[in-house]
C-alpha cells in the first residue's frame, strides 16, 4: 500500500520556473493565434515574441533580485538551481534573443518567416536553453539541451536553401552524436556515484577520493566530446562553418552566441570541480584542446574566401579562447567568461547584422557565395558609413582597443596570468595577433581595393530596415563605448559568479 506523497506547494518553489514558462506560453499563444487566423504578417509574431521575451527578462530581473538577497535558490524537487551563473547566462540568452528575433524584420521576404511555427520554435528553443543553464541535474540539462537543439535544427532547415538543408542535417547528425555521448557520460557518472546531480557527483567522488579514476576518466571523455560538439571545439568543430554558411546570417549570428553560452555554463558546472580535483589528465586534455581550438581555427580562418565562413572559424577560435576560462577555473576567469561573452554578443550581433543587411537573393557573377570578400571591395567608396561600422566590428573582434572585445580579452588574459598559466596567456595573446590578419583582410577589401563593379552601395543595405539599422546602431554604441559600462558590468558579474561559489 503506497502512502500518499505529501509535498507542500511552497516547498516546490515554483517561481523558479517562471522565466522558462513565459516563452513556452508565448510559443503556445503564437500557435493558437495561427489556428484561429492564418496568414498573418511576420511583424505580428516578431512583436509577440519580443513582448514575451521582455516579460521573460523582467522575470529574470526579479529572480536576480531574489538571488542578490537570499542567495542560491532550489526548486521543483531541487531539480532547478537558480544561482548566479544561471541568472547571468539567462540574461545573455534572453537579451541576445530579443535582438536576433528582431532581425526577422528584414526588407526582403524570406521563406521561414512566413511560418508562425518559426517563432514558436524560437521561443521553445529559448526556454530549452534556459532550462539547460538553470539546473545541475544531468537529466534536466539533457532535456533542455535537446529541446533547444531540435528546435534549432528545424529553424535552420526552414531557411529553404539547398545549403540550409545540408546544414540542418549535418548539425542534426552531429548533435545526435553529441547527445549520445552525453547520455553515455551521464550514465557512467550515475553508475559511479548513484546520482545525476552534479554537486552530488562531486561530493561522492571527493568522498571516495576518486577511487575509480578510470571510470571517471571514461565519463569525462564522453562529456568532453559531447560539449566539444556543442561548443565547436577542435576536433569536434567540423560542422560549424558549413552550418553557418547554410543558415541565414541572422541565425548564424544567433548560433555563435546563445547556444554556446548555455553550453559554457554547463561545462563550467561539470568541469570546474573535476579540474579542481587535481585530475591532472583532464587539465592536460583541456589545455591541449583550448590551445588547438584557438590556434587551428585561427589558421583555418586565414584562408577563407567568404566572410561568414571566416566569422564561423573566428567564433570557434573565440570559443576556444573562452574555454580557457574553464581551464583556469578561478573566480576571475569565470567572471571573465561572462564579461567576454557579453561584449562578444554586442560585437557579433553587429557584424552578423551587417551581413544580414547585405543579403542578396540573386548573386552577381563575381560573387561565389553570399558574403564573399569580393562583395565588400571598395565599400568605403560606395557606402562609407557602413564600411566604417563594419570595420569597427572587425577591429573589436580582433581585440583592438578601445572596442568592446579588447576589454574582455585583457581581463581573460589577466585571469590566466593570475591563475598561474603564463604560457597560456602568451599563447592567447599571440593568437590574437594571428586573428588580426583575417579581420584586417576584410578591412583591406573594404578600404583599400577598388569596387568590383560600379555600384552605388545599394547592395550593402539591400535587406536593411529601420529595425535592423537600429540594431546595428545599438551594437555599435555598445562596441565603442563598452569602457563606460565596463566597471558596473564587471562588478555585477563578479558578485554573481562569486556568490554562486565559482
Amino acid at each position: 500500500m503506497l502512502s500518499p506523497v505529501n509535498v507542500s506547494l511552497e516547498s516546490l518553489n515554483l517561481m523558479t520556473l517562471a522565466p522558462m514558462i513565459i516563452p513556452i506560453v508565448g510559443a503556445l499563444l503564437i500557435l493558437i493565434i495561427d489556428i484561429f487566423k492564418g496568414g498573418l504578417d511576420k511583424t505580428l509574431y516578431v512583436m509577440i515574441s519580443i513582448l514575451f521575451l521582455l516579460l521573460d527578462f523582467i522575470a529574470l530581473l526579479n529572480a536576480g533580485g531574489v538571488f542578490a538577497k537570499d542567495g542560491i535558490m532550489l526548486g521543483v524537487f531541487d531539480v532547478m538551481l537558480i544561482d548566479g551563473l544561471a541568472i547571468l547566462s539567462q540574461y545573455i540568452i534572453v537579451g541576445a534573443s530579443i535582438f536576433f528575433i528582431a532581425l526577422a524584420l528584414s526588407k526582403k521576404i524570406f521563406h521561414e518567416y512566413s511560418y508562425p511555427e518559426f517563432f514558436a520554435l524560437f521561443l521553445f528553443m529559448i526556454s530549452g536553453f534556459q532550462f539547460m543553464v538553470a539546473s545541475d541535474n544531468l537529466i534536466l540539462i539533457f532535456v533542455g539541451l535537446e529541446t533547444a537543439s531540435l528546435a534549432l535544427y528545424t529553424l535552420i532547415a526552414l531557411h529553404n536553401r539547398d545549403k540550409s538543408f545540408e546544414a540542418a542535417v549535418k548539425y542534426f547528425t552531429m548533435g545526435a552524436l553529441a547527445a549520445g555521448l552525453y547520455s553515455f557520460g551521464s550514465m557512467v557518472f550515475y553508475a559511479l556515484t548513484g546520482s545525476i546531480e552534479i554537486n552530488q557527483i562531486a561530493t561522492v567522488l571527493a568522498a571516495n577520493e576518486y577511487a575509480d579514476i578510470g571510470y571517471v576518466l571514461v565519463a569525462v571523455v564522453f562529456m568532453l566530446a559531447s560539449f566539444g560538439f556543442k561548443l565547436s571545439l577542435v576536433p569536434f568543430h567540423t560542422w560549424t562553418p558549413d552550418v553557418y554558411e547554410g543558415s541565414s546570417a541572422a541565425m548564424a549570428g544567433y548560433m555563435s552566441i546563445v547556444p554556446k553560452i548555455a553550453a559554457f555554463v554547463v561545462a563550467m558546472r561539470l568541469f570546474e570541480f573535476l579540474i579542481h580535483s587535481n585530475v591532472v589528465w583532464l587539465e592536460v586534455v583541456l589545455y591541449a584542446m583550448v590551445v588547438i581550438t584557438m590556434t587551428a581555427a585561427n589558421i583555418w580562418a586565414l584562408v577563407q574566401s567568404d566572410v561568414k565562413r571566416m566569422l564561423a572559424y573566428s567564433s570557434i577560435s573565440h570559443a576556444g579562447f573562452v574555454m580557457a576560462a574553464i581551464l583556469i577555473g578561478t573566480t576571475q576567469s569565470n567572471s571573465a567568461l561572462f564579461l567576454y561573452w557579453i561584449l562578444f554578443s554586442f560585437t557579433n550581433l553587429g557584424s552578423f547584422t551587417m551581413l544580414w543587411m547585405s543579403r542578396q537573393k540573386e548573386l552577381p557573377g563575381y560573387q561565389k557565395s553570399d558574403h564573399s570578400f569580393e562583395k565588400f571591395s571598395g565599400m568605403i567608396k560606395t557606402s562609407p558609413i557602413a564600411a566604417v561600422v563594419m570595420a569597427i566590428f572587425m577591429l573589436s573582434l580582433a581585440g583592438l582597443p578601445p572596442f568592446a572585445l579588447f576589454w574582455g580579452k585583457i581581463y581573460m588574459i589577466s585571469s590566466a596570468v593570475t591563475g598561474g598559466y603564463t604560457v597560456l596567456a602568451l599563447i592567447m595573446a599571440l593568437n590574437s595577433a594571428i586573428a588580426g590578419y583575417y579581420y584586417i583582410k576584410l578591412i583591406v577589401f573594404m578600404f583599400m581595393k577598388e569596387p568590383v563593379v560600379d555600384s552605388n552601395g545599394e547592395v550593402y543595405v539591400g535587406n536593411a530596415t529601420t529595425a535592423t539599422k537600429a540594431i546595428v546602431g545599438f551594437s555599435l554604441i555598445g562596441t565603442i563605448f563598452a569602457f563606460v559600462a565596463l566597471n558596473p558590468i564587471l562588478e555585477f558579474v563578479t558578485t554573481y559568479v562569486y556568490n554562486s561559489g565559482y
Binding site: L395, P402, Y411, V417, G436, V444, F483, N487
Partner: protein, 516 residues
C-alpha cells in the same frame, strides 16, 4: 581650461575629424589646416604654461575608468613627453598644409586627425592600459594611409606593418598584465597607473622577464634590428605624408616607451641588458647605414638612415645616465624634424618626377636651387654637423654612453662617418654634375605650399642646433628625475654602480652646453 588641456589636446582632433565628415571635400584642406593650427597653438600654450623647473608630471588628469580592475584615465606631461607632443601637433599641421593633391583628400585628412589623437594620447597617457589603447589605435589610421594611398605593393606593406607591431604589442600587453598582477600581490589593489608602478621594486628575476616582454613590443616599434624589416617596406610604399608621420612621430613611441616604462620599472634589468642592447643598437647603426649606401631609391636611403639614427637614440637611452637620456630625448625631436623634413623633400621631387630613383636625377642643383639648399641643410643635419639640431642629440647620447663603454661608443661614432658617406653620395648623385635627363631640365622649384612646411623645419633645425637650452632644460630636469628614480630603485650592486646618483652630484649645466 588648463586643467584639462591634455584631454583637449587629445580629443580635439578626433572631434574635429568627426565633424570633418560634414565638410565639403573642396574645402577640406582648409578645414584640416585650421584644425591643425588650433591644435598646434594649444600645444604651444601647453609649453607656455609648463613649469620648466618641475621635473615631475604636470597637468595631471585623473578619471576612474574601471576602478574594479585598476584602470584609470590618467594623463600628465613632463619634460620628456612635452616636446614630443608639440612635435606631433606640429607635424600633423604642416603635414596637412603641405599635402599634395591626392585622391580622396577628405578621407586622408580625417584619418590624419584621428592619427593625431592617438599620437598625442600615447605621449600623454600615464596609465598603462590607456597608453596601450592609443598605442594600438595608432596602427589603424596608419594602416589605412599606407594601404589606400601607397605605392603598388601598398597592401602587403600595410599588413606587414600592422601585423608586426600588433604582435609585438600583444606580448607587451601580457607584460603589462603581469606587472599589474605583481602590483596587486604587493599592495592588494589593482592598478595600471605608471606612477604607482614606479613605486614597486621587483626582484631581478621578475624584472628580466618583464623587461623582455616590454622589449618585444617597443623594439618592433622602434624598430630595432632584427625586427626592422617592416619599416623600409612601409616607407617604400607609404605616401609622403605617411612616411613623414611614421618617421617623425610613430617611431618615437618605441623609444619614448623605453624611457617611460623599461628604465624606471626595471632598473636592474636595464643594467643587465645594457650591453646586449647596446650591441644590437650598434649593429643597427652600422648595418643599416651600410644598407643605406647600397640603395638606389632615395626614399630608401632616407628610410635606412632613419633606422640608423634610431639606433643612436636607443644607445643614448641605455647609457642610463642623465646625459644619455636627455640626449636621446633631444635626438628623438631632432630625428623627427630632420627625417620628417627629408621625407617631405623626397616627396617634393616625387611629385614632380614620379620616381625616386637617384639615377634619374643629377644636376638638380642648377634646376632647383632652393630645393637643393634646403635638402643640403637637412642632409648636413642628418649627418650630424655641429650647429644643427642632430648634433646636440647625437653628441649627448654618445657622451652618455661613453661613460659606460669607450669601445662601443667609438664604434657608434664610426657610424656617423658612414652616415656622412651615404648621405653625401646620395646628394652628389642627385644634385651635382650636369643635368643628364631631359625631363629634369625644366622642373619647377619648390612652391609656396612646400616652403610653408620646409622653412619652419629648417629654422628649427638651425635654432635648436645653436641654442638648444629652451628645450634641453626641461628635458634635462625630467631625465634627472628618471635617473634618480632608477638609482633609488636599483637593487643589485652592479646597477647601483652603473646608474649615477644624481642628487649627490650637482649636474654641471656646462656639460649640457657642450652641445653647441
Amino acid at each position: 581650461m588648463l586643467d584639462h588641456i591634455l584631454s583637449i589636446l587629445i580629443f580635439f582632433p578626433m572631434v574635429a575629424g568627426i565633424f570633418g565628415f560634414m565638410v565639403h571635400k573642396d574645402s577640406m584642406r582648409a578645414y584640416g589646416v585650421a584644425v591643425g593650427v588650433i591644435e598646434f597653438s594649444l600645444s604651444l600654450w601647453l609649453w607656455f604654461a609648463f613649469d620648466n623647473n618641475v621635473s615631475g608630471m604636470q597637468f595631471m588628469e585623473h578619471l576612474p575608468l574601471v576602478p574594479a580592475f585598476g584602470i584609470n584615465y590618467i594623463l600628465g606631461v613632463d619634460g620628456i613627453s612635452l616636446f614630443i607632443i608639440i612635435l606631433a601637433a606640429f607635424f600633423t599641421m604642416i603635414g596637412i598644409a603641405s599635402l599634395p593633391d591626392t585622391k580622396d583628400v577628405k578621407n586622408m585628412i580625417i584619418t590624419l586627425l584621428f592619427l593625431q589623437m592617438t599620437m598625442i594620447g600615447v605621449f600623454a597617457a600615464l596609465d598603462a592600459i590607456v597608453f596601450y589603447v592609443f598605442w594600438e589605435l595608432s596602427l589603424v589610421p596608419m594602416l589605412y594611409i599606407i594601404g589606400a594611398w601607397g605605392g603598388p605593393r601598398r597592401i602587403y606593406a600595410s599588413i606587414k606593418f600592422f601585423l608586426y607591431t600588433f604582435t609585438g604589442s600583444l606580448v607587451m600587453l601580457v607584460g603589462m598584465l603581469f606587472m599589474a598582477y605583481f602590483f596587486y600581490q604587493a599592495t592588494g589593489t589593482w592598478s595600471f597607473a605608471i606612477l604607482d608602478w614606479y613605486r614597486l621594486i621587483l626582484p631581478e628575476s621578475f624584472q628580466l622577464w618583464l623587461f623582455a616582454a616590454f622589449f618585444v613590443g617597443f623594439a618592433i616599434k622602434v624598430p630595432m634590428f632584427p625586427f626592422h624589416t617592416w619599416l623600409p617596406y612601409a616607407h617604400g610604399q607609404a605616401p609622403t605624408i605617411g612616411s613623414v608621420i611614421l618617421a617623425a612621430i610613430l617611431l618615437k613611441m618605441g623609444t619614448y616607451a623605453f624611457i617611460r616604462f623599461s628604465l624606471p620599472l626595471f632598473p636592474d634589468a636595464s643594467v643587465y641588458f645594457m650591453y646586449p642592447i647596446a650591441i644590437i643598437a650598434i649593429i643597427m647603426i652600422i648595418y643599416t647605414a651600410m644598407v643605406a649606401y647600397a640603395q638606389k631609391d632615395v626614399k630608401q636611403v632616407v628610410a635606412y638612415s632613419s633606422v640608423s639614427h634610431m639606433g643612436v637614440i636607443v644607445l643614448g637611452t641605455f647609457a642610463l645616465n642623465v646625459e644619455g637620456i636627455s640626449g636621446s630625448v633631444f635626438l628623438m625631436l631632432a630625428h623627427g624634424v630632420v627625417s620628417g623634413a627629408l621625407f617631405l623633400l623626397v616627396g617634393v621631387i616625387y611629385e614632380r618626377r614620379h620616381t625616386k630613383m637617384m639615377d634619374q636625377f643629377g644636376g638638380l642643383a642648377k634646376v632647383m636651387p632652393r630645393y637643393a639648399t634646403i635638402f643640403g641643410l637637412m642632409m648636413m643635419a642628418s649627418v650630424g654637423m655641429p650647429l644643427t639640431i642632430n648634433f646636440v642629440g647625437e653628441f649627448l647620447s654618445l657622451l652618455g654612453f661613453y661613460q659606460q663603454s669607450h669601445i662601443l661608443t667609438l664604434l657608434a661614432g664610426i657610424a656617423i662617418i658612414v652616415g656622412a658617406i651615404y648621405m653625401l653620395a646620395a646628394y652628389k648623385k642627385m644634385f651635382f654634375g650636369e643635368v643628364t635627363i631631359e625631363e629634369n631640365r625644366n622642373l619647377p622649384d619648390v612652391n609656396k605650399r612646400e616652403l610653408l612646411a620646409l622653412i619652419p623645419l629648417a629654422m628649427i633645425t638651425i635654432w635648436l642646433g645653436i641654442y638648444p637650452k629652451p628645450v634641453l632644460g626641461p628635458i634635462n630636469n625630467s631625465a634627472e628625475a628618471v635617473v634618480q628614480l632608477m638609482h633609488n630603485k636599483a637593487t643589485s650592486e652592479e646597477a647601483k654602480l652603473r646608474i649615477p646618483n644624481v642628487s649627490g652630484v650637482v649636474i654641471s649645466k656646462t656639460s649640457m652646453k657642450e652641445g653647441h
